[in-house]
Assembly symmetry: C2
DNA sequence: ATGGGTTACTTACCTTCCGTAAGGATACGC
DNA sequence: GCGTATCCTTACGGAAGGTAAGTAACCCAT
């Protein structure tokens, strides 16, 4: 049983966190500024309120998202990225670049 | 109902693809060169054979991974990234950089 | 004061995905 | 043919996700 280099556990945790279902989309939607609950639902097609609520709580726990309550009527709640969340900007940008290159025209996958 | 900009569907597909459970880890393990089935199992702690098999098939279908059979004894099967897969190098690198910055010491999440 | 509108969740239920263990396919050495 | 090695496949219970309905707080209109 020869030793094989194991992948970096920090990388693994990061990609599972950001790549968890809907999470990457929510982060991109917040990348341009703070958003309300309903706005996030509109920004991410297919995402439903139950999962959005669940994901926002996870992101808050992980310290990527901050929740701000404005005591107006009706109550307005804004979600925004923390510094930790905003620092994913380059990750998001590289994923976007890859997507534009390889997912737009479904061809040229040999190599 | 005011219009909210929807996130890019290509980005969404990309992040859900790469971020799907175990997939990001498998891709990183293949980033340094071709690997055998058993080597991948060793490289990614917690990953079991059923899921590895499932993910490799998906990655082949998506054109990110190529499967090569060597008719030796016992049969040797090598998995390697295609050009499409290798082009995720910068994505992996940025995730790694973020992970090193923010997940190593669990502090400083305000902002 | 009661009924309805708006926003942000929460609960409930069922289906799909994942984790774990066991079994199968192929090929060789004895 | 029996054991060993590698690469999957099948089976099944439990966790996660999809969908719809319900709750809570607040205001306004009737």
């Amino acid at each position: 049983m020869k030793d094989v280099a194991q992948i970096c556990p920090l990388y693994h945790k990061a990609i599972e966190l950001v790549g968890k279902r809907w999470t990457g989309a929510i982060i991109e939607a917040l990348m341009t500024g703070s958003r309300r609950f309903g706005e996030l639902l509109e920004a991410v097609p297919g995402l439903h309120d139950r999962l959005l609520s669940e994901r926002l709580k996870e992101l808050e726990t992980e310290g990527l998202v901050r929740r701000r309550v404005h005591a107006e009527t009706p109550v307005r709640i804004q979600y925004e990225l923390t510094a930790k969340g905003r620092d994913l900007k380059k990750v998001v940008a590289e994923v976007q670049r890859w997507a534009d290159r390889w997912l737009h025209a479904p061809s040229g996958t040999r190599g």
